[in-house]
């Protein structure tokens, strides 16, 4: 058991801090020009794709360096590490592991140089939480696949250049299997693709429905073999879900919340003198620490080459309740102001997206109860 960092790791932390001090554009969400500059600086350091091997042009950072990088960036409220979140999280790692040399040459440089924008086609209507039963079909015709079907909750599909797409290739009639699932890389300007926006409860357009009608995809755009799609996706997933960045994000929200409390009054007295407010804040702090430490356990497994365990489901559950309670406290502190538009108000609505995304709390509870505790399936 050791929660210290090596002197080398601490030195790297200092390097990140210096970098941030010099290059932070002053806001987490800079305008496109400033964001471009920020990304160029990151590209120089190879901090985009930092944990990817140097052979493919990545930064060759260790798991812990990656952890330090993310934690410091988040703590400093720096803009994100590039803007192609889906590409860097899902597509890059999958390409490195499963891609042909040609695919790597074609896609990785854009990813590493912050010139890409990917979306991912997983969820489908009626199968939101049940990936194994997806229906979108690809039929091989000569050197092409012909894709028909529909995806939903596709983040940024209206802006992405490519989609990292799961389809079903098998002709087997029983659909509830992961065996036939295949991964295709499809340009979003392919004929036959239609994108329809889904507007969120705060009026923001980030999700989409994507319709595929006889979309032709060259066989060379298949990532991995036919039927391997599930493994292609899951391998990438495992390595990007320590939950530490979520914990760091919550640390910042807690700081904001404490500031809000500092400026609020409750029952005619400063809100921070109210025992229930203080204890709620402290309870968030303890739970966020638990999230962070659960993430560190996940890292340790990675370092030891062990399979990831349930830390992800655990942290998603912790996070869900923290999000709800923090929002309720924030709006409670705001009182009438909470009825108006504002950051906390938007957050109190928006978290529903993050809580549900990647499996609702009930799905996480089923995973834990069935896979870990061995309870019978429902």
């Amino acid at each position: 058991m050791d929660f210290d960092f090596t002197p080398e790791e601490e030195a790297f932390r200092d390097e990140v801090r210096r970098f941030v001090a010099e290059n932070h554009p002053g806001t987490e969400t800079p305008d496109p020009g400033a964001m471009k500059k920020w990304c160029e600086k990151l590209v120089e350091r190879r901090w985009i794709g930092f944990s990817w091997p140097t052979e493919v042009g990545g930064g060759g950072g260790t798991v812990l360096q990656q952890f330090i990088l993310k934690e410091e960036m988040s703590a400093a409220r720096a803009p994100s590490l590039g803007f192609d979140f889906m590409g860097l999280t899902w597509v890059g790692p999958a390409l490195i592991r499963w891609g042909t040399d040609q695919q790597k040459r074609r896609f990785l440089p854009d990813l590493l140089n912050a010139r890409s924008l990917w979306c991912t086609g997983y969820s489908e209507p009626d199968h939101g939480s049940d990936l194994g039963s997806l229906q979108c079909r690809a039929v091989r015709e000569g050197d092409e696949y012909v894709v028909n079907g529909q995806k939903i909750w596709t983040t940024l599909a209206h802006r992405a250049k490519w989609i990292f797409m799961l389809v079903r290739c098998d002709t087997d009639s029983s659909p509830s299997k992961v065996r036939g699932i295949t991964c295709l890389l499809i340009p979003m300007d392919s004929p036959g693709i239609e994108v329809q926006p889904i507007v969120s409860l705060t009026g923001v357009h980030s999700f989409n429905q994507v319709f595929f009608k006889d979309v032709k995809v060259p066989v060379g755009n298949r990532l991995g073999e036919e039927g391997q799609g599930w493994r292609v996706v899951m391998g990438a997933l495992a390595h990007e879900r320590s939950g530490i960045s979520e914990a760091t994000e919550k640390v910042r929200h807690l700081e904001d919340l404490i500031e809000l409390a500092r400026g609020s009054r409750k029952n005619g007295r400063p809100a921070l003198e109210d025992a229930s407010v203080r204890r709620k804040l402290a309870s968030f702090q303890a739970r966020i620490s638990a999230m962070r430490l659960n993430g560190v356990r996940h890292l340790t497994r990675q370092l030891r080459g062990e399979a990831p365990s349930t830390e992800t489901s655990i942290n998603k559950l912790l996070r869900g309740s923290i999000e709800i309670e923090m929002s309720e406290l924030a709006l409670g502190l705001q009182g009438s102001e909470g009825q108006c538009e504002g950051d906390w108000q938007a957050r109190s609505l928006n978290f529903h997206g993050t809580v549900i995304g990647g499996g609702s709390p009930n799905i996480q509870r089923n995973i834990i109860a069935e896979r870990i505790l061995g309870l019978p399936k429902d």
Partner: protein, 375 residues
């Protein structure tokens, strides 16, 4: 002892429900809140013609002379459909005039409220979220026979559409010097700045007074009656909000139950799973209990004034917590679609965030219950 609605009250409920279902279904609500006014003047007129704006106003002033239990029935229905209108504000303004206004003042304002030609609202607190007379700080200067107001009242509901505002202010340092007056919405020096709301079926504005003159004849009530009247109307406001919360919470539950029956996952309607079914049962439990508390508070408003403060605080404390949970759980049980603009459940979530602080949140009312209970 009789815990139930009369036949007349059930009839009233059906009438209001039919009207709203026909004239203001959810797509109309969604259309209206995009308009500058945010509500339908025609429908307002229609409500007036049907006598729904003056349920609580005595018959001699053009109203129906009914009680709070009747009014609660109506609010349950307006809450159910998230009916956008200045109904609560207008009714509360009228209730203050009816409460302490002179005969002349009642004759002047109550009939024009009941017939729908005047919309009213309350501008009581300038100290936000201090839901008592302590929240009134605005102090008037005297200029001859008139009072002059300079200051600001934040978070005034329906400020932008009110033809008349019941304004609270102070004329001296004591609570006996509290005053209430009716101020015209377009009096010189009064400026309303609308504030964008999360729940767009409701409207808020900041009211700024810049050398606004209040004539003696517009001041309500005998000296020293304003303070108690403010306390009473805050309780009435909380009761009104509670009644709308019942309807909204029931609609949120109904919508979620219906989704749980229709949505198939892993081969079953998700409503088969206890992980969905049990939270729905908890919602039902909370709503039924909340109803009991609100109906009792409404009865107390009609018949047992001494029991009002505790009854209202118990209802609002319970309901603020329960409806907040219902909004959140309702959205969550809808899964991803709960997060979309398209489904109605998010509108109820937003209503829950509107209703919670309105006339005091659960902390405020729990504190008050404790004080009233001597602990």
């Amino acid at each position: 002892m009789n815990f139930g609605f009369s036949e007349e009250q059930e009839l009233l409920r059906q009438q209001v429900r039919k009207l709203l279902d026909e004239q203001c279904p959810m797509n109309e609500v969604r259309r209206l809140i995009e308009t500058p006014e945010g509500y339908s003047r025609e429908l307002w007129k229609q409500l007036a013609e049907l006598g729904f704006l003056g349920l609580l106003i005595p018959e001699e002033y053009g109203g129906a002379g009914l009680g709070w239990v009747d009014q609660v029935v109506m609010f349950e229905e307006t809450g159910r459909t998230l009916f956008p209108s200045p109904l609560i504000s207008t009714l509360l303004a009228a209730s203050v005039i009816g409460d302490i206004g002179s005969e002349e003042q009642r004759r002047r304002w109550l009939p024009v409220i009941a017939d729908g030609s005047r919309i009213g609202s309350l501008a009581l607190l300038d100290q936000a979220d201090v839901w008592s007379t302590e929240g009134v700080r605005l102090t008037a200067r005297r200029r001859g026979d008139t009072f002059v107001l300079d200051g600001e009242k934040p978070f005034v509901v329906d400020a932008n559409r009110a033809d008349l505002l019941v304004v609270a202010f102070r004329t001296g340092g004591d609570d006996a010097d509290l005053a209430l007056a009716v101020v015209d919405g377009d009096v010189p020096g009064l400026e309303v700045t609308p504030v964008p709301t999360l729940d767009r079926t409701k409207c808020l504005g900041t009211v700024r007074f810049d050398d606004v003159q209040v004539a003696a004849q517009d001041v309500l009530g005998a000296p020293a009656t304003a303070g108690p009247a403010i306390s009473r109307v805050l309780d009435r406001g909380a009761a009104a909000v509670c009644a709308e919360m019942i309807g909204a919470a029931e609609a949120a539950l109904a919508s979620t139950v219906s989704y749980a029956k229709d949505r198939i996952q892993f081969g079953s309607p998700i409503g088969r799973f206890q992980g969905v079914k049990h939270p729905l049962a908890e919602m039902y439990t909370d709503i039924e209990s909340f109803k009991s508390l609100v109906y009792y508070a409404a009865w107390a408003l009609d018949r047992a004034p001494a029991r009002v403060p505790l009854a209202v605080s118990e209802a609002k404390a319970f309901g603020s917590l329960a409806f907040s949970r219902i909004g959140i759980d309702g959205v969550q049980l809808h899964g991803a679609v709960g997060y979309t603009e398209e489904y109605d459940i998010q509108l109820y979530l937003k209503r829950s965030k509107w209703a919670r602080p309105m006339f005091g949140d659960e902390d405020h009312h729990h504190d008050r219950i404790a004080s009233l209970g001597g602990y």
